[in-house]
């Protein structure tokens, strides 16, 4: 596929994202968050030990109920992080360490959230929703700020998970917790 076609394709996806973001429509909220999920992969460095092999897939895992629906799948489709193809997994139970690189913990998981986050192991970027998520030991939490989707970052949690957060990502976060 040529560069131009890819660019146009990407532009089309971004267009959708922006429409959701600016519109701050409830239905579109998760479309933006889905895009954010994938964008996080571009500003975070995973330790090589996170992958079983060079060609092992990069898994975005969703624990609990899936708020994104098909939006996440369509965004992720065909994308990759370095040499790792992006895939989406959905879990009802906390996955085994080393299976996921990004774990979105949906709002439906309230019980034992701290423990789940504790046990998920290093090399997993945990993303959740609400202010409480960071307090429970999560790394990035989506927040709605002034009707816009934004996020907070818990840098110590990221360090604990052996993830290197790009400064630019930190720059655009609403707040960064040390």
């Amino acid at each position: 596929m040529s560069q131009i076609v890819r660019t146009i394709f990407a532009a089309g996806k971004v267009l959708c994202l922006l429409a959701a973001a600016t519109g701050a429509h409830a239905a579109d909220e998760y479309r933006v968050k889905a895009a954010f999920l994938m964008n996080f992969t571009k500003f975070v460095d995973w330790p090589p030990a996170s992958f079983s092999s060079e060609t092992a897939p990069f898994s975005i895992c969703i624990l609990g109920s899936d708020p994104f629906g098909a939006a996440l799948d369509s965004i992720v489709d065909g994308e990759a992080v370095d040499s790792h193809k992006l895939v989406v997994h959905r879990f009802g139970q906390p996955p085994q360490p080393g299976v996921c690189q990004v774990l979105f913990v949906g709002g439906s998981v309230r019980k034992d959230l701290g423990q789940i986050l504790e046990e998920v192991g290093p090399g997993v970027l945990t993303v959740g929703e609400g202010d409480n998520f960071l307090l429970e030991g999560g790394i990035i939490a989506f927040v709605i700020d002034n009707r816009r989707v934004r996020f907070d970052i818990n840098q110590s949690a990221a360090a604990k998970a052996e993830l290197k957060m790009n400064a630019k990502l930190l720059g655009v976060a609403r707040s960064v917790t040390k």
Partner: protein
């Protein structure tokens, strides 16, 4: 090179050397600095452009990189903050971050107010206009997620240019000032010696004083130049001196040579002979005026021409003729000689020639004159000889004839001796005739001059001479009436006619022939009748002619040339005196004769006598008695010849005259004085040894002015006869005379008296 450049370089060229050096230094310095400055500025400008592009690209990349998260997470605020860092670069006018859909995520403006971002252009690019606009795609992991556009004003470039410009200008000014100050000191080291040299040259040129020397300032090339100049000056000075000396010598020599040349040229031009000189190739280099005049050429037509073309001659016998430019032939005498120059051999030739026309004419004239003189001398001597002989002959003949006729008279007519005595008389007559012809030839036989009508005279004479003409020859007369008179001696006219007619008749020989006798009048001068046969040139005027033409054998030119010579004859019986006598008579009558003849064409003699104004008087007819009456009176006979005296006495006494004799003039005068009362008349011989007739006559006339004198002579000249005419001569008795003639003259003189 255009005019401006030319005038510019001329301006520079004509500047004094000080200014020129200054101008060169300043111009060089300024130009070098200007070029360096412009080069630096240009280099900086272009380098700065590249640098600016690179700088801006880097800046854009950094800003774009820093904006990736803002774009990805749609954070205009953080993007704006990122852009706000551009404030550090004051020349950035504005910057905009576009998302991939073209919407502006964030923008920056230097002025603070919101700037309207222009529509983004896809891809990366730098656009230069009044400012620089750089368009930088923002990539995240190789994917373009937006575009950053930065606009940068060119104020910086202008600032830099201004800065550089002022710097360059300042440096230029400063360096020019330094160059000026330095060169104004340094130029003196070059300009001063040159100016000094120029000054020296100028004063040398102005004053021509080659003793001036230039001052030497340095040991460089200028020093060498000054040395060389000074050396040159001293060279010129010494050469000048030598030159003036040489020139003076040369001038002197030239003046001398010119003087010599002019003198030689004048000499050549003054020579009466023609002179032509040529160079070694036979071309004429000089021709004097005489030569040009003879050649009938101008100098331009002569000088430089080959001599053969100009000097053309024709040889004819001993003569050389020059052919002139107008094709005339001039007899010349000429010499040629080579011009031998010292060293180089023959340098040409000189030709000298002269016109000998005049000389030849004079020579011929001289020959003719000499011939005439010779002829005259011949005639003179012959005349003297003939006259001498005739004189003696006449005296003798007087005796013979007188005595013979007296003897015949004394004898009775029936006497047998009478015919014999008559033969003596006839022979004496012929001898007398011969003597007369000799006298006529010598020009001394002319005595009685009358005005004569030639036609009438011919008519009268012709019957007297017709006897010897053969019957086979017919004589035709054509006599013109009313001819002008001529002065002539009739008896001599008779001689002419007789000689010519008889000659004409004899020329016809035994064949039948004709003789035409004609008279006429003609106008003549020397041109129609040149002198011939030793005759004197005739006077122009009217002439009376006597033409005698025969149909006889004619003469060759050779014979014709000699016919008038005495004793020349073609006739067996001739004595060769006839035509000589004719010529003598014509001469004494101041006439001329023409002869036309050719063998077998007959001969024409034409005799001319000058006409005179006057009428022919009717001839006085003297009563001539056949027998003279007896005379009375005493006659004095003066003659140195005894035989003449005796014959005269016999004749006169027989006729009744008393006779007194005298043997010479002195005795005559003495006798005349002695018998003055008795002497009736005197017969006086002209030529006598002691006192001649003329003196005797004068003395007698002194004693008795009325004395009757008859002059007697055999060869008296015409002039003398004429002179005596005015001196009261009673008559003239030509010797030899017959007694009849003597008695007739004496009788007439006695009757007429003296002074006729």
């Amino acid at each position: 090179m255009n005019r401006a450049e030319a005038s510019g370089s001329r301006f520079l060229r004509d500047l004094p050397i000080r200014q020129k050096l200054m101008a060169v230094v300043l111009l060089t310095t300024t130009a070098a600095l200007l070029v360096a400055g412009i080069g630096l500025v240009a280099a900086d400008f272009f380098l700065f452009r590249g640098y600016l592009e690179r700088d801006l690209s880097t800046l854009a990349r950094i800003v774009g990189d820093n904006s990736t998260a803002s774009l990805e997470f749609n954070e205009p605020q953080s993007a704006k903050e990122t852009l706000a860092a551009l404030r550090e670069r004051p020349h950035i006018v504005m910057a905009c971050i576009y998302q991939t859909d073209g919407t502006v995520l964030a923008s920056y403006s230097r002025s603070g107010s919101d700037t309207k971002c222009p529509a983004p252009t896809p891809g990366r690019g730098v656009r230069w206009s009044r400012d620089v606009t750089i368009s930088q795609p923002i990539l995240l992991k190789g994917v373009e997620i937006g575009t950053l556009v930065i606009r940068y004003d060119l104020g910086e470039i202008s600032e830099r240019l201004w800065f550089y410009g002022t710097t360059v200008f300042g440096v230029l000014l400063a360096s020019s000032l330094v160059a000026f100050l330095l060169s104004s000191k340094l130029r003196e080291t070059i300009a001063t010696p040159i100016s000094q040299l120029a000054q020296a040259t100028k004063s040398v040129a102005a004053t021509k004083d080659y003793s001036i020397r230039a001052e030497r300032y340095s040991a460089d090339e200028l020093g060498l130049l000054v040395d060389a100049f000074n050396e040159m000056l001293s060279g010129i000075q010494s050469r000048d001196t030598n030159l003036i000396k040489a020139l003076t010598e040369r001038e002197d020599a030239l003046g001398e040579a010119r003087g010599t040349r002019d003198f030689l040229r004048t000499t050549l031009a003054s020579i009466a002979d023609a002179v032509i000189s040529t160079d070694a190739s036979a071309r004429i280099v000089f021709a004097n005026p005489v030569a040009l005049a003879l050649l009938r050429r101008t100098e331009a037509e002569t000088i430089g021409k080959p001599v053969d073309e100009v000097f053309r001659t024709v040889e004819e016998g001993d003569w050389t003729f020059l052919l002139t430019a107008n094709q005339k032939r001039i007899p010349i005498e000429h010499t040629e000689a080579p011009i031998v120059t010292a060293g180089s051999g023959v340098g040409g030739a000189v030709l000298v020639f002269r016109d000998i026309t005049e000389r030849e004419r004079l020579a011929q004239e001289k020959v003719a004159t000499e011939e005439q003189l010779r002829q005259s001398a011949k005639l003179e001597s012959l005349g003297v000889l003939a006259g001498g002989i005739a004189h003696d002959f006449n005296n003798l003949l007087v005796g013979i004839m007188g005595n013979a006729s007296l003897a015949a008279d004394l004898l009775p007519p029936s006497d047998k001796a009478v015919p014999l005595i008559q033969d003596v008389v006839d022979a004496s007559e012929r001898a007398a005739q011969l003597t007369r012809q000799m006298l006529a030839y010598s020009g001394r036989g002319r005595f009685i001059i009358d005005l004569v009508d030639l036609s009438q005279e011919v008519e009268e004479i012709l019957p007297l001479i017709s006897r010897p003409i053969p019957r086979s020859v017919s004589v035709h007369l054509n006599l013109e009436p009313n001819l002008p008179a001529i002065e002539a001696d009739k008896s001599q006219l008779q001689q002419i006619l007789m000689n010519l007619v008889i000659n004409a008749a004899e020329a016809c020989g035994s064949h039948p022939g004709s003789v035409f006798i004609k008279t006429c009048r003609e106008k003549k001068d020397q041109s129609t009748s040149p002198p011939a046969f030793g005759l004197a040139p005739i006077e122009p005027g009217i002439y009376v002619c006597l033409s005698i033409k025969d149909t006889g054998s004619g003469m060759s030119d050779e014979v014709k040339a000699k016919i008038f010579d005495p004793f020349f004859t073609t006739k067996f019986t001739g004595r060769g005196l006839g035509l000589s006598a004719v010529l003598g008579i014509i001469r004494s009558h101041k006439g001329t004769i023409e002869v036309e003849s050719a063998p077998d064409m007959g001969t024409t003699f034409r005799v001319f006598f000058p006409a005179v104004s006057g009428v022919v008087e009717a001839e006085k007819k003297h009563p001539v008695a056949r027998r003279e009456p007896r005379g009375t009176g005493t006659v004095l006979v003066v003659d140195d010849e005894e035989i003449v005296r005796n014959t005269a006495r016999s004749a006169l006494e027989l006729s009744g005259y008393q006779v007194i004799l005298a043997e010479d003039g002195e005795a005559g005068v003495q006798k005349f004085g002695q018998f003055a009362d008795q002497v009736s008349m005197v017969i006086l011989d002209l030529t006598m040894p002691v006192m001649d007739g003329e003196s005797a006559l004068a003395q007698m006339k002194k004693l008795d002015p009325a004395v009757k004198v008859v002059l007697s002579s055999g060869f008296d000249r015409l002039e003398i006869a004429e002179r005596f005419k005015g001196k009261g001569l009673a008559g003239f008795l030509q010797k030899p005379y017959t007694t009849a003639k003597l008695l007739q003259i004496v009788g007439t003189a006695m009757v007429d008296g003296g002074g006729s």
